[in-house]
Amino acid sequence: MSEKKINIRMSGLGGQGVVTAAHILGAAATRDGLISTVNPFFGAEKRLAPAESYVRISDRPIYERGEILNPNIIMIFHPHVITMGKCYTMPFFDGLQQAGILLVNAEQSLSLGGKDLVKLAALQARIYYLPATQVALESGGTELATNMAMLGGLLGITELVSREALRESLAERFGGGKFVASGTTAALDDVLKSKFAQFDQLLEKNMEVVESGRRSVWEFRIPGAVSA
């Protein structure tokens, strides 16, 4: 049996929750009996600076370390990653594998450069858009849930993890008082928790955002590209 390995790169801006989204996704994969490793990459951390995290999911032991250089899936949490180059790689899809998936948080499709589209077409990449920030605001009442909408969008494209495992991982991450986040992340956690009277409410709202994200994702067809 050949190895089934998925490499996911999440690029966003500090404060959007790329590290937390990766944590929850990796924990869910582990709950589903798969093997996963998760790690972030950032400079001295600050809000709105480029931040990336990486999730590797496999049915075999994972040995690679550090950045994911050849992702199957790239999740872009903010249009500025593309339009303003707030990204550790140039272009933003550098290293994307053949027939890879792009999921972009944007209200409408971005006008990618002609060269980028040609390269993406040659890779037979599948491009998906999702207004994740809007979804988070409408379903969750806070843009801090953008990362949950993005996870929903991902599950709308490919069922990487089960709904139950995702729910349990969310509960674990936000439930107990045990999780120690860095100072700025802890501050954002507090903001999030203060918005909900009860933990159950926070969990349900997050799952609603996930569901709404799953429904709102749509595929962008590259003009003139042969479909994969």
Binding site: N39, P40, A44, R65
Partner: protein, 378 residues
Amino acid sequence: MQQVVSPEHLLFEARREQMFITGSEAVREAIKRANVDMAISYPITPQSESMHLVGDIYKEGYLREYFRGENEFAVMSAIAGAAMGGVRVFTATGGPGTLRAFEMFSTWAGARLPIVCAFMTRGVNSPLSIQPDTIEMAFMLDTGMIILHAENSQDLHDMLLKAYCVAEKTDVHIPVGVFADGFFVTHTREKVEVPPADLKLPPYNPYSAPVPAMDMENVPFRQMRDPFVMKSNYISYAAHASWQQEILAAAERSRKYLAKYLGGLVDVEYADAEVLVVASGTAVSVSREAIKLCAREGLRAGLVKVKSLRPFPAEEIKLVTRGAKAVIVPEFNRVGWLCREIKAVVEDNTKVVGGPRVFGGMTMPAGLIISEIRRCFA
């Protein structure tokens, strides 16, 4: 309430539970079970979270004392004082923090203090970097400390507990540094198996010390007054020479305990291979990936994982490399300190390939090692 159990039970027999945690959290889990009396912290990326988490378990009652020092030099000095006082201690630092405290590491070894310190390796200035790089290990090799290098969070957790077991043996009784690559281990979340949290190591027995506490001014061993410092004469030279040799001998005597607890100084897979990859830390993991992919092409390379750098597995490496036609040494630093160590013990060292070397925080693509393996088989 925690129950004291034998190191053998805690490390090898107790049923383990799986956690999905970061390397920093693996440090917390180890220290929770290590029966540590006192920990002192000073933050530096990528270590800060580890000692923060140790502070959290102090609040939960797992440690008797914990505070934040003024800087790394002060922390390492205070840790020395606490260890001289006869308690089990823990601290951690990394990169520029390691260098800032540097004088103390030889002092710990010279004073025969069984301190366990975690080092989360990071690039050293300048220009500034907070990213992973193992350059500081090059500087640490000759401090007199025992130097262990963890491949992943599981290693980090296990090596910290085992470090106490080795450090506190009377015929060893010198400090142990457990090194883990910053971010690649500290911030990477993965499965780690830990023994039950209600078990812990036996307490440190200060009477296991082979020497009296060495103080600057106080009896029984006054460094500032007695021959070590104050006399420029034969007695002073002889005292230093014999003492320094004794520190090295203590590290040598740790081999039997490292064999018992770590299962040897190296792990070897497919020792008969024509091409061997020798590595330590997360470079081992990347090597495993490269070796796995090369095997699919029919190129079967072997792997030597170096777990202990001091003492150095000179005989083990000399023997295992004897039949190989090439020895590849991938490293996460610019100078290639592991390659220098390997070249010093391989009989025909013209077959040692220095590199690939990746540094300054770059990720090492498995492809770099694969290219070397292909070239060596060709």
